[in-house]
């Protein structure tokens, strides 16, 4: 897999750690919700870098109390047509105020890149074979009717400044 950030292929400094895999303290580990929920105080209180991966059926409300503990949240698109992660991303960014890395994983396709950016994702895990085209993808649409938390100025604000 390759990681894309800001239109470039970048090295991934994180490791996905399966539930049956040992955690060693040198890793920047992305763990599952199940592991986090069964973790003892040692994991909760150490200040090691920690990421968490949520499936579409795992609402971010499950980690809202611990959000400060995570530097990265990875949201999974089991299929690209499963749009739950779009809502979860906006909830994390705009409602819970998450400012760390928000990573799209699973079936992540370039035709959805703009939607993902608009919902607050800032890194994208894609297959090696599509990494170059994904990194080169530039948004084809420049007009936004919706105000999301990504900072792009929606049409209504532009209309008001013009008037």
């Amino acid at each position: 897999m390759a990681l894309i950030r800001e239109g470039a292929i970048v090295p991934d400094t994180w490791q996905n750690i399966a539930d049956d895999q040992e955690l060693d303290c040198t890793q920047r580990a992305i763990i599952t919700l199940a592991r986090w929920q069964s973790a003892g105080d040692d994991l909760r209180t150490t200040n090691r870098a920690l990421g968490i991966r949520l499936r579409g059926d795992q609402h971010p409300a499950a980690i809202v109390a611990d959000l400060g503990r995570f530097d990265l949240v990875a949201l999974e698109f089991a299929k690209f047509t499963d749009g739950r992660a779009f809502s979860h991303a906006r909830t994390l960014r705009e409602r819970y105020g998450f400012t760390g890395e928000l990573r799209a994983v699973g079936e992540v396709l370039r035709d959805q890149l703009l939607f993902m950016l608009r919902c607050g994702f800032d890194s994208f895990e894609v297959a090696d074979s599509s990494a170059a085209t994904f990194a080169a993808t530039t948004p084809k649409i420049s007009v936004f009717y919706q105000a999301t938390g990504d900072g792009r100025v929606p049409v209504r604000a532009l209309r008001n400044t013009r008037a």
Partner: protein, 550 residues
């Protein structure tokens, strides 16, 4: 009417080029059909039985003459010379080539139209009362809010991959002409006790396999909160709607499973979090959009036209006026229904020549405006009563003066097995057979107001659940059969039809309809409409008449 500004125009233009690139990638093989399908569906392009079909949005059913001419041009250049109006204020072109689809979208964009989100699991084309702005029973023009919703829902980054398709209707009137209560969301302009206008919000209605009447989850929503509230509903649905079963994925199932009260609580909680400057609709924005829908400049005329009254001495014209003219809120004007249900035609079809003729007539006699109704007819909304006789003569010359609006031959039918790859049975030939059986105009008048609606399968695109008589195509061991329902109603008195009993073979359907009509005529009290007789006497006499001998 609403006119695009530079922002609206840029978006549809960019969208055309984006789709052109996606089509090129599909044709070169860079995209698989699986990857391409959701992209083409977001642009209204379906793969049907014989060809691609493009569904074009006619937001809130309003068209200018210029737009109508472009639709005619598309029908002539890219299709086989006609288009088909649907029950959701769309027009479909049934014989489209993939390599020309982007060119059609470009033609649409040149007249401020698009096919964005006319299919796929997205917020679909927003529909509104086709008598918006001209009906006397209206609090406010619903198109103001439909346009606000159109913009908000267009390419919404969060809601483009919902569990299932999502339909919103808006009305500003007490009488419902939008089938509001069988929509995923129905918005009705209402006044609160203080006389302030706002919205009643209804959620969870629907047709299809599991028809349901929606629930009002908020009796009064202030105008400023419209988008925050919609976003809250959609977020709850996007997060919690079922994705494991296609047939349980609509919002109505979520509302039913959670119960309306629990669902409402989730929406309200989300709404409180979303309320804020980003989504609030300030008065200036409401006024800016409303200005686009300001009433046109009408002439000052006497309430009733002497010329029209005199012309109505001619019986054929009088008959058309009786059924196809509606009162206008402006004195001296009338609303004309253009029936797309001629005997033996395809309900909702219009040829390129007819569309062009209508564009000319609208320009001359209807302040350049045409409406599309969810009953698959067209409407000229602003005709001077004095001009009606001349208009009618022109309509007649183009085969557009069928005097049957609201009568038994004014049938809604989906494309059915003639076009649709989901169909169990044909719809169009059944509609045509009924039209032939009841072709006699005196008999039609004697029967009076009645709505027959036909769907070729349980997806219910022909709204059979809310037909006074509903006809549903079913498959019985490979043969086309039809289940009949009675008592459905898509109006403000919404009800779902009840099944009469065993289904009828294709050759028996028209006789069954005849039997139902005879039973009604025998049972009705003076002047009573079919639906009222049915409500009074119930299913039993109809059942006996249909199946008693067996």
């Amino acid at each position: 009417m609403y006119r695009y500004d530079a922002f609206d125009q840029t978006l549809v233009d960019e969208r055309v080029e984006q789709f052109r690139d996606q089509v090129a990638r599909r044709l070169s093989g860079a995209l698989s059909e699986d990857q391409f399908r959701p992209l083409r569906l977001l642009n209204g392009l379906y793969l049907q039985l014989h060809a691609y079909m493009l569904r074009v949005a006619i937001p809130y059913g309003t068209l200018s003459s210029r737009q109508l001419r472009t639709l005619a041009h598309i029908a002539r250049t890219f299709d086989r010379g006609y288009g088909h109006f649907t029950t959701r204020q769309n027009i479909q072109f049934n014989w489209v080539r993939l390599d020309q689809a982007a060119d059609i979208l470009a033609a649409l964009a040149s007249v401020e139209m698009h096919a964005i989100q006319t299919s796929g699991n997205t917020i679909r084309n927003v529909t509104a009362d086709h008598l918006a702005g001209v009906a006397a029973d209206e609090i406010e023009d619903p198109r103001i809010y439909a346009e606000i919703i159109r913009q908000w829902s267009t390419l919404h980054p969060e809601f483009s991959f919902l569990p299932r398709k999502f339909k919103i209707a808006v009305t500003g009137a007490a009488r419902d002409r939008t089938a509001l209560k069988v929509h995923d969301i129905g918005i009705q302009v209402v006044r609160d006790a203080a006389g302030e206008a706002g919205f009643s919000v209804l959620v969870g209605g629907g047709q299809g396999r599991t028809p349901m009447i929606g629930h009002v989850i908020r009796p009064f929503l202030p105008k400023a909160d419209l988008l925050a509230y919609l976003e809250a509903i959609l977020r709850v649905y996007n997060e919690f709607g079922r994705r494991d079963n296609l047939y349980k994925a609509r919002i109505k199932i979520l509302v039913q499973t959670l119960g309306p009260a629990a669902f409402t609580a989730m929406v309200e909680e989300q709404w409180q979090a979303l309320r804020g400057p980003a989504l609030a609709l300030p008065d200036e924005e409401l006024a800016r959009i409303a200005a686009h829908f300001a009433p046109p400049t009408y002439a000052r005329l006497p309430a009733a036209s002497a010329a029209l009254a005199a012309a109505r001495a001619e019986p054929v014209f009088e008959r058309w006026c009786r059924h196809n003219l509606l009162p206008h809120k402006q004195p001296g004007y009338a609303i004309a229904t253009i029936s797309l249900k001629p005997e033996g035609g395809v309900p909702g079809d219009a040829t390129a020549a007819q569309l062009e003729a209508l564009a000319d007539l609208a320009e001359r006699w209807s302040l350049d405006e045409v409406r599309v109704s969810h009953e698959q007819n067209l409407v000229l909304p602003h005709v001077r009563q004095d001009d009606v006789p001349a208009l009618w003569r022109e309509l007649r010359a183009h085969g557009l003066a069928t005097p049957n609006a609201g009568l038994i031959t004014d049938i809604i039918a989906c494309p059915g097995l003639d076009y649709c790859n989901l169909a169990n049975a044909r719809s169009i030939p059944i509609a045509q057979q009924i039209q032939r059986r009841f072709a006699n105009r005196e008999r039609q008048e004697e029967i009076g107001a009645i709505k027959i609606k036909i769907s070729g399968c349980i997806n219910a695109c022909g709204h059979h659940h809310v037909g006074h008589i509903g006809i549903l195509g079913v498959d019985k061991k490979g043969a086309e059969f039809y289940q009949i329902t009675l008592g459905g109603d898509g109006s403000e008195r919404a009800a779902l039809g009840e099944i009469t009993g065993r289904a009828f073979a294709a050759a028996e359907v028209v006789d069954a309809i005849d039997t139902i009509i005879d039973t009604y005529l025998g049972a009705r009290r003076h002047g009573e409409a079919f639906i009222d007789t049915y409500r009074r006497v119930g299913m039993v006499p109809f059942k006996e008449a249909l199946y008693g001998a067996h």
